[in-house]
Symmetry: C2
Amino acid sequence: MSNVIINRAETSKIESVDFENLTFGNTFTDHMLVCDFRNGQWEQPVIQPYAPFLIDPSAKIFHYGQAIFEGMKAYKDEHDDVWLFRPDQNYDRFNKSAVRLAMPEIPEEVFIDGLKQLIQIEKEWVKKGNGNSLYIRPFMIAIGSGVIAAPSTQYRFMIILSPAKSYYSGEVKVIIAEHFSRAANGGIGAAKAAGNYSAQFYPTKLANEAGFQQIIWTDDATHTKLEEAGTMNVFFRINDTLYTAPTSERILDGVTRKSLIELAARENIKVEERSVLVAELVEAAENGTLKEIFGAGTAAVVNPIVGFSFQDKYHELPKIENSFALELKSKLTGIQRKELEDTFGWTVKV
Amino acid sequence: MSNVIINRAETSKIESVDFENLTFGNTFTDHMLVCDFRNGQWEQPVIQPYAPFLIDPSAKIFHYGQAIFEGMKAYKDEHDDVWLFRPDQNYDRFNKSAVRLAMPEIPEEVFIDGLKQLIQIEKEWVKKGNGNSLYIRPFMIAIGSGVIAAPSTQYRFMIILSPAKSYYSGEVKVIIAEHFSRAANGGIGAAKAAGNYSAQFYPTKLANEAGFQQIIWTDDATHTKLEEAGTMNVFFRINDTLYTAPTSERILDGVTRKSLIELAARENIKVEERSVLVAELVEAAENGTLKEIFGAGTAAVVNPIVGFSFQDKYHELPKIENSFALELKSKLTGIQRKELEDTFGWTVKV
């Protein structure tokens, strides 16, 4: 950590921020971390005032999409200590994404220690209380210039921070993808790559226009297997068992997903990691054994889904008393906020 | 065209450029065209000195990969007139890519008329003579800020220009993809989207390390159908018939590809647009009926392939006298350079 250069902002904009009325991902803190890769090595990381930066029009990011990111959150407990949730998992996944996109891996002291140092400086931006968090966005882009389709030799790693309220997206109805797909076999679906998201926007826009908030993605070859919900992993509860697709080249190895699986096991909720077929889901909806569907991801943690459409038929889910989604969300956020005991050792003090 | 604002560079860097020793895509002309989309509409386009620009760290391009581009070329004939090749095709495809990436379509007067005006200003950068051209890179990126996975509301369209020598990549040996893929069914493979390219870099790096210059991509579901070669469309000559995969959601509707198909028809070379199976290719190589393989794209025009590897077996192609690849390349570049009659009406004067 000692090798981080710190250039502090002269003034803070924190007083101008209305923390009660934050739109997700639109407000950023006073500082950011920047670390460039040049001549085959990572240069010294710098914490500096958050600001636009200069980039060449021919930078590879603009033409060939070499860009990866992570999403994480920090929480402040009642003792004013700030906690990260499983940052090692995000760090590992970031470097896996880097390899798949032919980008250099980032050292742990830049990603983890640099992040901790940045959050120390921005500690006032992490607010206590239910629903409050600091959303963390580490990302890496190709900044080398030249319009030839080959990996860049220059990269920029950055961490930016955005204060967040709890993420509530209203009632979520989903439509099952019968034509569009988010990932190919042998593709980059398992990487947290920028290009994966741009592919989803148009199908999602069509879904929105049809009255659905999100898409449940299916495998691109047959459209028979349920894979992800929007930008989240997805869980299905049939009777009292939770099902979620196994991770693969097409499916993101979500930190919330894997934490929910471990948490469910501790709570004696049965979880099976296996492909769920669209036909199974429809059958379960029709015979009344489908109890819940929910998305799992860092931003929303757990996002209950109220119904799904397939082949123009809408299946509304029942209202239930003992929701696994709400129970698991409550337990997981309790651990994240240090209100419940962390028997897993997932939380890391900044 | 009258509505383009022109801010001329004070000096030109053209005298410092060694036009005999250009690396593809690394040298840019004095000016670029910039046109921003804000508040639901395209603003006035500006031709201004080529230079880096400021962009926010949270710009959507960096996080969600909304970026598309085109590749085109301009040629100067012996009368010092400058010609574009089928710019309408690139314009149409650009807007198709825009729709698929949930980006706004660009008006023709910005893309086509703006490009012509930019090239007029940079006319000295287009050199006469065999192998010389001006490579044109129109592109659009999402510049709106905010780290929430949704389409941007602000975009920047730009055109940058790079003088080029003929593109020679040496002997090209390829390996047939048995695991990795470039596109999903229902994905963005048919769009000229930045994200498609970043997905190819790592598999291509592995191919390079194994001694191959490019990959022939297969369909991601079965890896049995031959689809593209590297970043180009691909043609196979078995006996005296050319085969190329039909365009689809997974395959780029290449301008060089479609021009070669029309040109071959005029030259009485039989072309079939149908899926070629890997098994067919191996059989044709083994029984001696496979005569040629070549890639087709704007940068190289036609790129002959000398052999391919599949399941660790390398198949060398025969040396032949009457190469369709070389004949078609010679005819097509002759039309592009105005050395041969353009019976198709493909060339457009700037």
